[in-house]
Each structure stands twice: as structure tokens, then as C-alpha cells.
């Protein structure tokens, strides 16, 4: 396996190319430019979403105010699943096209995905206590969320255990893809297992109709979660890029520019 010259030597061209931003050198300034807009969108949407959720949305008839954790819980659960798929996608792109940046992107996403999975589990437990009377039930969704959390942990642990970044990238990519193939199998097996043990479980199904303000609040929070994930992944991928490419010319020039007072690249 040799390094593809595709990303290593191609100079930034004037025409649009799919791979133009596939090199750290060209992506670094772009990520820097995207950073602030993303953060601002995330903050504005979070404030709007939380306000809608906590002050405008009506109190639930059966659950009272405790249902309001849904505005954090559901977006977190969505994001934990989406981020894993995006991660596996970048891993596959990296293995197919041999682009370094794809691997950096997926390792930048992993901690955020794990965080979302953890938040989903944590808020789910807090929500479970007042509504079901228990912090944890072995419901299909809870169990598969827990296993998803373990998959994130496995990916990060494997990457951390390998010193050579090239090997770490590829080994992590492989386990992420194998995990992604397994996620639907795990989900349906757990679901089926749960229906067998129906006696002990509590139904999670929502009441059929949901007030439109509730839905609005949830969608706003979901978009805010997207923006936050993108923003934090960009910050992390910039750090990874500089760390990995510290011996290259463009990072050195960046360092010189920073010393000259121009901190914002």
C-alpha cells in the first residue's frame, strides 16, 4: 500500500474539484472560516429551542413538566446515531480514496458521538425515574443506545492504543465499518429479545399527537445539535491536522504567521 499522490501533491486548482478540500492544507483555512458561523448558528438555535421547549410548549397532560427533557434527550439520541453513520462514512471514504483528511474527520467526530450517546442515556435515565419509576429498563432502544456507546468507546480505545497514526486510522476505520454493518443487526436483535421478555418492559411509545410547539422546539434543538457537532468537529479536526502535519511546510508557515501576530488563520 503506498500513499496516494492524489492528496499529497495536488496544488489547489482554480476549477472546482471534489478533492480540492480533501487535503489538510486547503481544508484548514476553510474550516477556520466555517467555525464562527457554525458556533453562532448553534448558540442562536439552542436559545430559541430551549425557550420554545421550556416556556412556550404546553405542559404535557400525563407527564407534567418532566417531559421537557425530551428537548435534550431526543436530539442527543438522534445525533448519536447520525454521527456514527457519518463517522463510518468518512472511514469508508478514507479507505477507498486513501485521503488522510477523512480519517482525521472521523476521529474528530468520535468523542462528540460518544458524548451524545452518553447524554441520551443520562437524560433517558433521569426522564425514566418520574415517568416509569425507574432509572433503567432493558428496553430495546435503551439497550441498543448503550451498545452504540460501547462501539464508540471501542473505536476510540483502539485508536488510542496504536501509536502510528496511519495504522490507527485504518484499524479504527475497519472497526467503525464493521460496527456500522452490525448496528442494524444489533438493533433488531435487541428489539426482538425485548418483545420476548415483554413482561418486564415498559412501553416507550409516545402519545400519538404532539403539540406543534413541542415539535418545533425539538426540531430547533436537533438543528442546534447538528451545528454544535459540526462546530466542535471542525475545532477538533483543525487540532488534529496541525498535530499530524506539524512537520510540513504549510503548518510551519502557519506558525510563522501566528508569531507575526496574525493568529486567525
Amino acid at each position: 500500500m503506498s500513499d496516494s499522490p492524489l492528496t499529497a501533491t495536488r496544488a489547489p486548482s482554480s476549477g472546482f474539484s471534489l478533492f480540492h478540500y480533501a487535503s489538510p492544507q486547503t481544508f484548514f483555512p476553510l474550516a477556520g472560516k466555517l467555525l464562527w458561523p457554525t458556533w453562532i448558528i448553534a448558540i442562536v438555535l439552542t436559545i430559541a429551542g430551549l425557550y420554545t421547549g421550556f416556556f412556550i410548549a404546553p405542559t404535557d397532560a400525563t407527564q407534567g413538566d418532566s417531559y421537557r427533557i425530551i428537548f435534550i434527550h431526543v436530539p442527543a439520541a438522534w445525533m448519536s446515531m447520525v454521527v456514527y453513520l457519518v463517522m463510518a462514512f468518512w472511514c469508508a471514504v478514507g479507505l477507498i480514496f486513501n485521503t488522510r483528511l477523512s480519517f482525521m474527520m472521523s476521529s474528530a467526530l468520535a468523542p462528540t458521538g460518544a458524548l451524545w450517546a452518553f447524554i441520551a442515556l443520562w437524560t433517558g435515565a433521569l426522564w425514566g425515574k418520574p415517568t416509569w419509576g425507574t432509572y433503567w429498563v432493558w428496553d430495546a432502544r435503551l439497550t441498543s443506545e448503550l451498545i452504540l456507546f460501547f462501539l464508540y468507546c471501542g473505536y476510540m480505545a483502539l485508536q488510542a492504543a496504536i501509536d502510528d497514526p496511519r495504522r490507527a486510522d485504518r484499524a479504527g476505520a475497519l472497526i467503525a465499518i464493521v460496527g456500522a454493518i452490525n448496528v442494524p443487526i444489533i438493533y433488531f436483535s435487541v428489539k426482538w429479545w425485548n418483545t420476548l421478555h415483554q413482561g418486564a418492559s415498559v412501553s416507550l411509545t409516545q402519545s400519538p399527537s404532539m403539540a406543534s410547539t413541542m415539535l418545533t422546539g425539538m426540531l430547533l434543538m436537533a438543528l442546534a445539535a447538528w451545528a454544535y457537532t459540526i462546530g466542535v468537529a471542525l475545532v477538533r479536526v483543525r487540532a488534529i491536522m496541525i498535530e499530524r502535519e506539524r512537520h510540513t511546510d504549510w503548518v510551519r508557515q502557519l506558525g510563522n504567521a501566528a508569531q507575526a501576530g496574525d493568529i486567525k488563520a
Partner: protein, 222 residues
């Protein structure tokens, strides 16, 4: 390709025959772990027969995990693995041969010894047969998935704990269908669907795992 497969299997079996004690470790672990459960949860026959399938399956999972990390270790240590990677023969077939030999040495003995544990856990003859059947179809999947973990963690520090973190989540479907078959049978649902799903998992694992494991070996030895 078949002759390559057969020769790899034969080689690994021969190597194992010359170091018999290695093979018995996983089996001893399986026996020991299952014997610990009655001591932990109490010897009531009702309760034991209730948890038997789950205990045997979890013990089989852990026994696989314990031994699978050594799947490529000796080959890597004496340079055989490098020759396998350099060889013109397809690496996935070599890996499949190694996994097959590994299963014959560690998976099949668990199936054979399972009736004994069934006796200890107060299972009837039919119930023992069901557990054996699920183990027979399920343990090859465990070996195949374990091989992916073993090749990914080859030569890494803390390999043992790491392989557990990587592979155990992937074992969940096998565990659920394997241990669930007995419950389904007791509920009068029959075990065909569970066996069919276990076989489906096995077929997917047969298609994907040798390829993934071979890729991981190339990454590890890059």
C-alpha cells in the same frame, strides 16, 4: 483454493496437537466459569435451569474472547504471518482456514462439553439438545468476529482488554439469539426462527469477517 484452506487447517491442528495444553485452557475456563454461577446465585434447581442457557452462552463468549487473542500471535512471533501476507495465495482464505481450525479446537469442544454443564444446571435432555444446537451454530460466528478483533489488536499493548471492548458489542446478536432459543422453546414458540437467525448471522460473518480480518492484518503489518 480448497487445498490451501485444507492445508492451513491441517497445519494449525497439527501445531495445536503438539501443544495440547493451550487448547484445554479455554475449555477449562468455560467449565470453571459455569461452575461458579451456582455458587454465586444459589443452588436452587429451578433457578439454575432458568439461567442455564444465558450462563453457558456468556461463558462461551468469554472463553472465545480469552483464547482468540492468541489466534495470530505465534504466527506473528515466528514470522509465518509475514510469509502469509507475502504469499500469492488469497489471504482471506488463509484466515478462514485459521479460524476454522481455531473453532475446531475451542468452539467445538464447548459444544461437546455443554451436556455435562446441562446436567449441572438441571436441564432436561431436550433442553440440553437445544443449547448444544445453538452453540453449534453460534460459536463459529464468535470465532469469526473474534478473529477480526484479534487481527486489529495484534501486537498492541493492553490487547486483552481492548479486544473485549471491540468484540463484545458485536457479539450481542449472537448472544441474544443463542440464549433466547431455550426461552422461546419453553414459551412454546419453537426454535427454528432462532436457529435460522443464528445461521443468517453466521453466513454474514463468513462473508465479511475473513475479508475484514485479512485487511486488518495488512494494516497491522503495514
Amino acid at each position: 483454493m480448497l487445498s490451501l484452506f485444507v492445508s492451513v487447517v491441517r497445519r494449525d491442528l497439527l501445531l495445536a496437537w503438539r501443544r495440547r495444553s493451550d487448547v484445554l485452557t479455554a475449555l477449562g475456563f468455560f467449565l470453571l466459569v459455569t461452575s461458579l454461577f451456582p455458587l454465586g446465585v444459589g443452588p436452587e434447581p429451578e433457578q439454575l435451569s432458568h439461567i442455564a442457557a444465558g450462563v453457558m452462552w456468556v461463558a462461551a463468549l468469554l472463553a472465545t474472547l480469552l483464547s482468540v487473542s492468541r489466534l495470530f500471535e505465534s504466527d506473528e512471533a515466528d514470522g509465518t504471518l509475514e510469509q502469509m501476507l507475502l504469499s500469492v495465495e488469497p489471504l482471506p482464505v488463509i484466515v478462514l482456514g485459521k479460524v476454522c481450525a481455531y473453532w475446531l479446537l475451542t468452539g467445538l469442544p464447548l459444544v461437546v462439553i455443554a451436556p455435562l454443564i446441562g446436567l449441572q444446571f438441571n436441564l432436561s435432555a431436550d433442553e440440553t439438545l437445544i443449547v448444544c444446537a445453538t452453540l453449534l451454530v453460534g460459536t463459529p460466528s464468535l470465532s469469526l468476529l473474534g478473529a477480526v478483533g484479534a487481527s486489529l489488536t495484534l501486537g498492541l499493548r493492553g490487547g486483552g482488554a481492548l479486544i473485549a471492548l471491540l468484540v463484545l458489542p458485536l457479539y450481542v446478536p449472537v448472544l441474544i439469539f443463542g440464549a433466547g432459543a431455550l426461552d422461546a422453546w419453553r414459551a412454546g414458540l419453537g426454535i427454528q426462527s432462532h436457529l435460522a437467525l443464528l445461521s443468517a448471522v453466521l453466513l454474514v460473518a463468513l462473508a465479511v469477517c475473513p475479508l475484514a480480518s485479512a485487511t486488518a492484518l495488512r494494516i497491522a503489518q503495514d
